[in-house]
Point group: C2
Chain length 670, copies 2
């Protein structure tokens, strides 16, 4: 057992802090009430001995891991139901409990029933008629049936129109007949599909009366409700081991003449009448909204994962001692090497800024949804373009940041007990799912090309691209850089605008040479993705500036100063990170670059005494961190050693393989 | 079983190639003879059914994986011994067979006996006296004993002088007494230590006659040769699961009054006489040489891993179809999206250039070693600085490149059967072991600071830093860029020199303000690491240019043109990747940047028809690739499906967890 005392280096770090950590946590959690609610929920779930593991799950085989995952998932769901029945938690907390902060602490490699709650239920709610909701929701809600959402196929991802699964309407029996025409049309990837779910919403190409009517959602029973045996015509299984989310049982699914009644097509948006007549959907704006919602959740999750990684690495860097700066001195805490600070502190800043930006987009989403209900669609494209680019930037930046944090812990970060491999496995998946990042950058770029052409015509622009007007209208043609924080934000906007201009001009030039718009855009794809990223980074800089300045007004001066330091480091790091573009469009002398570099180094020094206290302020429960390197008490080496002793290989002094293979081999040449 | 035919898209790709693939392979393998030797060896080992797995090892538990690893390792070692006895292979091939290309195909998560061959044996050879070699080598060589190399401790890595393990000489019994004074002094990480090895070379602080004599190597028996039980005073085990190298059984080791005879200290460099008198080592240059050698091996391995990843991603990108460029068109091969080419082709180039640079350093190493034997140490510091920075750059660039390749394959790259997770696990470890990358950049920077001060004084400079003289001596003060390939190389050197100057000036400035040199250098650490990286990249650019131009003279014009295209893309990509530094020191107009971008896009188009043929030219055996996405025949979906069917979870229609947990839960709320 690790000793109960806190590592003395961490004690000293905490004494050095210039601000009140509890106040930071309150700010970070958006107020006292939410903070306490979170803590109470964490206490309920994370201090329940029934939900703890005896042995780290990394020692299990794939099969054992699944079985363990189901056991834990049912325990969590039962407990959640009890709390719900007692009125002690709300649906708002489901995400955290099932797959978010708390869920990932309990079921470390992913909840096999997660998709049931986050996709199956919402799809029925969003796309089912009231009769369909009445029929399916209560069964699904009480988990009498477990569903998944089967869209992606082995050969088809992003381009949904290319899906191959067919649903042919048979008016004689009033049924749809589902078929998987080719191997590449097998459903592939849905979470929970492999072994857990007995129902699925299946997205398939609808054919009726010899006509194709595009893709539609169908509720399909996959397994017998009592025996769980796959139903006739259903070929189903688990796709196998993966980089992360190892207990989710992502599955495959093929259909051979599987019949479902007509009422199983979710008909809120489109219908097939008994005789096979297809009635079209009035609008598809609502689905658009769901997509944005999911991306906002991804941005928040990304920020939280990076906060975890930064917490682990920062605490470890205050405990670990390595390599004297001067040979005559003892080994310092590694956080005293400036190169180590450069690895840690910008990641702390990014975790904060992505959280802040996620909140901003969330509020925007709620406004826009409100507008939508009033029939106003004006800001939907802007919201969509921001959600796309921020999903892409947040997932890739945090994925990289997690690896930077891991490697900042040297070899020990490579052990599973550091928690980094698991965090990375979850984080990197977000670069691909819900819109592959390059595809998303290109989607945003389509919006930017349109915005730039509006700017050229002097048309009014929505807030996040208003600065394009200044550049297009030549109101700003060059940029005199004074180095203030607002100036850095303005510079980033100026650079983004110029890069959008370059990409736009190249598309136009290629069109003038005879290419179609689509092929010109494909040819210019590299610059378009770069322009999108710069637009996203300028938005982040502006949001960071505005939102943190707002926060600073509301908190104590001591905390305000820390937030200001974090903002300054964030902006300097972001600006120095795009220097190739900056110097292309803004004249900065080498001396000015020097000054920016020096300011960044000063920021790193200024944040040094507060670093541990800031990550303490994230207030991430030790069980959520789940890292021997990053626990609050900093008893790193004791915890590492204790964890190694749990390894089943260490429960016997000699492994059987010695007698079976090694000894015969070693003696064979005597 | 996948069909025997080759995917038609790959057939077409291969027909489009403008060069002879076999000629490429001969060039890549450094000649006909080496190519055929490699192929014969691969045939021998990779087509031996005894060495194949029935089921992917990713389905095994940690314990099963170790047991499986030992079984395979003994089979491989036996086969190797037979071949050796028949004179059919040489020691040169040991690395490939034990842990390199062939080894990693057979024992995918690392050979538990690898360290025995690559560290234990060489250490005895390099640091033992002839008597010690006579005593230990034949036993070790024939594997009657299996050893490991125990240096790193739980609390001590890079800074070897900080190791805590003690060896106190007892002249009464003529023995050393080994002890682990604290938990942080436990040996941690040595490969094979956990369960496999029964001996180790242990690095410990030597004390004799009350005096400390620094760290020395000792041969220590860990386990009984017959029972394999740990000997008294030995606390030993496996450190647990990791991101990669999962069957290596990295171990921990603590000593409590463990006695070894005096003759067990390896005494080639330093000795303890029977009475306890310590006799100092004459020189430590030889160890320096070994360190360089290991880093050169890392550069080559890094190149090979990236070649694997690029092969998989390129073939998959020619088979996978996704998202029409124009909505009216069918889905194109993803390689036809220019953004996809930007992900793939620069990585192909980097794999080639790192291989070429590794060869160059290897030759330099052999020259310098030759010089050393003649007592000439002149080029050793240069070699050391290059080996450091190239180890760091190659490991981090290829690690990033592997992830770029993985993500270019979308969701399917996330499956273990893509092979990317395993390749990544091996590759990223190289960023940390044998000198953590940041530490290595800083080592190189010390050399560069010295070289710059020599340049300022007008002293003669060794070839790789000769260009510093031109900048320091103000023979070149500005740079007129004409865009030729040589000009890009010269520009990169000019930029590196200027960055070194900036870092040097900042160190001097801080010293002038009163800091010690060491603290000034620590404070300037960020710029010093950046300067090192730029120096390394300039060296790579120069080497790429010179070596590929040499190759082009020797091969057919058709292959020569392809090599030239690869060189051009490599240089443009490298130059565009450091644009922030380039534009700081070189005046380029936005139009010139445009031209570089356009040339790079043209390169991507020019290489398009040859891409599959180039990765075919790497000639990596399907079993070494071990990827359902990347096999030569391109039957991607069939192979993916076949692999999923091997998943033990799919061998029964209903998992027992349904009856144990899921059904009771689902029925509980009816």
């Amino acid at each position: 057992m690790p000793s109960k005392t806190v590592n003395p280096d961490l004690v000293t770090e905490r004494q050095k802090a210039t601000f009140n950590v509890e106040e930071f946590t309150t700010w970070w959690n958006d107020g006292e009430e939410k903070k306490e609610e979170r803590r109470a929920l964490e206490k309920e779930f994370l201090e329940d001995p029934e939900l703890e593991d005896d042995m780290p799950v990394s020692y299990l085989s794939h099969k054992e891991l699944y079985e363990h995952g189901i056991k834990k998932a049912t325990l969590v769901a039962k407990k959640l139901r009890e709390l719900q029945d007692q009125g002690r938690t709300s649906v708002d907390n489901y995400t955290a409990i099932l797959g978010g902060s708390i869920g990932s602490a309990i079921i470390k490699e992913g909840n096999p029933m997660g998709v049931h709650f986050v996709m199956f239920l919402p799809t029925i709610m969003g796309q089912g008629t009231s009769e369909q909701q009445f029929e399916w929701l209560s069964k699904a809600w009480s988990c009498n049936i477990i569903g998944t959402y089967a869209q992606t196929e082995l050969g088809h991802g992003t381009f949904i129109r290319g899906l191959e699964t067919r649903a042919d309407y048979d008016p004689k029996t009033e049924e749809f007949v589902l078929n998987t025409p080719t191997l590449s049309g097998y459903k592939w990837w849905p979470g929970g599909l492999g072994l857990t779910a007995n129902y699925a919403v299946v997205i398939a190409q609808l054919y009726s009366k010899g006509q194709h009517h595009g893709i539609q959602p169908f509720i399909v029973q996959l397994r017998d409700e009592d025996t769980h045996m796959p139903l006739p015509g259903i070929d189903i299984g688990d796709i196998g081991t993966k980089l992360g989310m190892k207990s989710v049982n992502n599955g495959y699914l093929g259909f051979k003449n599987v019949r479902v009644p007509r009422k199983n097509m979710l008909m809120k948006n489109a219908q097939v009448l008994p005789d096979g007549t297809f009635v079209k959907s009035p609008s598809s704006v609502l689905t658009y909204g769901t997509m944005v919602f999911v991306r906002v959740v991804i941005i928040r999750d990304a920020a939280y994962r990076l906060a975890k990684a930064a917490t682990i690495a920062t605490r470890y860097s205050a405990v670990r001692r390595q390599s004297p700066i001067d040979p005559s001195e003892p080994e310092p805490q590694v956080i005293d090497h400036i190169t180590q600070r450069l690895k840690l502190f910008p990641e702390i800043c990014k975790a904060i800024i992505y959280k802040v930006a996620g909140d901003y987009i969330w509020n925007m989403y709620n406004h826009v949804t409100g507008d939508l209900e009033k029939g106003n669609l004006d800001r939907l494209p802007e919201l969509h373009s921001l959600a796309c680019v921020l999903k892409a930037l947040s997932s890739s930046d945090t994925t990289n940041g997690i690896e930077v944090c891991r490697m900042s812990c040297g070899g020990h970060g490579y052990m599973d007990q550091s928690a980094f491999p698991t965090i990375y496995g979850l984080a990197t998946a977000a670069c691909t799912y819900e819109g592959e990042n390059t595809v998303l950058y290109l989607q945003t770029s389509r919006y930017l090309l349109k915005a730039w052409s509006q700017a050229l015509k002097g048309e009014p622009l929505v807030p996040s691209v208003a600065y394009l007007g200044d550049v297009a209208g030549k109101r700003i043609t060059d940029f005199y850089f004074d180095g203030s924080l607002t100036d850095i934000v303005r510079a980033m906007e100026f650079v983004a605008a110029n890069k959008i201009k370059v990409a736009y001009d190249h598309v136009e030039q290629r069109k003038a040479e005879g290419m179609s718009h689509e092929h010109a855009a494909n040819y210019t794809g590299i610059e378009l993705t770069q322009a999108s990223a710069l637009y996203g980074r300028a938005f982040l800089a502006r949001t960071a500036y505005v939102e943190l300045q707002n926060s600073i007004k509301k908190v104590s001066p001591a905390l305000g100063e820390v937030l200001n330091d974090l903002l300054e480091l964030y902006l300097l790091d972001a600006f120095l990170g795009t220097m190739g573009d900056n110097l292309r469009f803004i004249k900065l002398t080498s001396g000015q670059v020097d000054q920016l570099q020096e300011r960044m180094e000063k920021c790193l020094h200024k944040l040094r005494p507060n670093a541990v206290a800031i990550v303490d302020g994230f207030d991430i429960h030790d069980r959520i961190l789940d890292s021997t390197l990053g626990s609050y008490d900093g008893n790193v080496y004791e915890r590492i050693f204790e964890a190694a002793k749990k390894n089943p290989l260490n429960h016997e002094p000699v492994n059987k393989s010695f007698h079976m293979y090694l000894k015969p081999f070693m003696k064979s040449n005597l």
